[in-house]
């Protein structure tokens, strides 16, 4: 099966080890990636706040590429998935406003039709591949590992655009954790935001949000966090030392992108996956990382 991976800006340019894990897992599952020149999605938080027009224009450009390829986009970032789904939704509801942008896109050979299909990769894993097939690839089940999942906000919200999973009580990431033999631990602040957006303007609030999240996860007995968004990954992996400095805490919770844990369960090694590039050390779970 051929799909168009959409890695966005953060994964390839800052967290290439996440790209590595995604590529290994999807290859093992028999999915072939066709890489095409997608631009920045653009960011539904940063760019849409500054200019909705810029957001729609570049989003429609990316959607046009997928339409021409006639293949599904599989996004590895919550923000990119939200943008691509959201821009398609925007154009459907703002046909007149879009006409000016349509003409601009045509000048560079992009002909927007509105037919692209976009899946967040968690959705694709569950609907396009299926839990049973994933279980069949598990060689090294992560038995006994207690995992707190964090889907991040733009994974299922706003639900009227995205229409996937439960926006206030998401379950599908837990299903993936269970499929690789680990235990999904419930915790009070499961749907709390990572705080990356407010961190741009007020780092104090972002630190408070992160502390609340880490406290709740620690109290739940989970040993690590599994997530599905590079922005949340960066925020949690980098902010722990600042939280500890600010509040005198000692959080050292390993952060994993879900495909990293899947890759380990599929038989790949911490070395192959570049676990040494994580900021928060992973030795409590993988001693040879």
């Amino acid at each position: 099966m051929d799909v168009l991976p959409f890695f966005g800006c953060v994964i390839p340019n800052r967290l290439p080890f996440l790209e590595k894990s995604a590529k290994l897992v999807f290859k093992d599952l028999g999915i072939n990636f066709i890489e095409v020149p997608f631009s920045c999605c653009p960011d539904p938080v940063g760019i849409a706040a500054v200019s909705e027009k810029a957001w729609v224009t570049l989003g429609a450009r990316n959607l046009s590429i997928a339409e021409k390829e006639n293949k599904k986009i599989v996004s590895f970032c919550n923000g990119c998935a939200e943008t691509l789904i959201g821009v398609k939704h925007y154009i459907e509801h703002n046909k007149e406003e879009f006409e000016e942008i349509r003409e601009i896109l045509k000048k560079k050979g992009y002909n927007y039709k509105g037919t692209a299909e976009i899946n967040h990769f968690v959705r694709y894993l569950i609907e396009g591949i299926g839990i049973e097939k994933i279980k069949k690839c598990v060689k090294n089940p992560l038995n006994g590992l207690k995992v707190a999942t964090h889907t991040g906000c733009h994974y299922a919200r706003p639900s009227d655009w995205i229409q996937w999973d439960d926006p206030l009580n998401p379950k599908c990431l837990d299903e993936l954790v269970k499929a690789i033999g680990a235990e999904a631990i419930n915790y009070t602040e499961k749907t709390l935001c990572c705080g990356a957006a407010v961190d741009r303007v007020n780092s104090k609030i972002a630190l408070e949000i992160a502390k609340r999240k880490f406290q709740s996860i620690t109290e739940s007995g989970a040993q690590c966090i599994a997530l599905n968004c590079p922005a949340c990954f960066q925020q949690f992996d980098n902010i722990q030392k600042n939280v500890n400095k600010e509040f005198g805490t000692n959080f050292q919770i390993p952060i994993f992108y879900i495909t990293e844990l899947m890759a380990i369960a599929f038989g790949h090694s911490p070395e192959e996956l570049g676990f040494k590039f994580h900021s928060t050390k992973l030795k409590s779970i993988f001693p040879d990382s």
Binding site: S39, C40, V50, R157, L168, C193
Partner: protein, 171 residues
């Protein structure tokens, strides 16, 4: 005087297709109870107040006094889900933020990203250290468009005039 109603602003909010949901707000505060930033700031940041300020056209409160400051929204969209009247708060806030940009008042934390997108075609630059990591991991070169193409589109819609210091005469 500071809180005079600005009808032009009020109508711009009400006329924006999606923001018409704003008129269904009955100020129940469900959004506040679900908002992580409201909780952490003990109500100093308050999404309900931004909605009533917009609904009444209290332009100064939103743009000058920033009471509350719409940029403190962490865009988790929980309020959108919890609102019994299905008011699209996050979209209304994005509309307000776009107006900040048009008045050259958006915070640098946001403008910087837009400027990078305009100048380099992407929001995160590839540093030599990351390039080495890509090689170590056996990853191929990043497939991406030429920055000139992205620039072409962003100039065509006028983003450069909003975010570029040179074009704003501040260089």
């Amino acid at each position: 005087m500071a809180n005079r109603i600005d009808l032009e602003f009020r109508n711009s909010v009400l006329n924006k297709y999606i923001s018409s949901t704003i008129s269904y707000c009955y100020q129940c505060s469900s959004c506040v109870s679900a908002c992580p930033v409201a909780s952490i700031t003990e109500g100093k940041y308050n999404p309900r107040k931004i909605i009533i300020n917009a609904l009444l056209g209290l332009k100064n409160k939103i743009f000058k006094e920033r009471d509350p400051d719409v940029w403190l929204c962490t865009q988790c969209c929980t309020c959108d889900e919890i609102c019994p009247q299905k008011v699209k708060l996050t979209e209304i806030f994005a509309f307000i933020k776009n107006q900040f940009t048009e008045n050259f008042n958006a915070p640098e934390g946001y403008l910087g990203e837009a400027r990078a997108l305009y100048q380099f075609g992407k929001t995160v630059m590839l540093q030599p250290a990351i390039e080495r990591r890509r090689t170590q991991l056996g990853l191929s070169t990043i497939i991406e468009p030429k920055p000139e193409e992205v620039k072409y589109f962003l100039e065509a819609i006028g983003l450069n005039k909003l975010v570029s210091k040179e074009e704003r005469g501040e260089a």
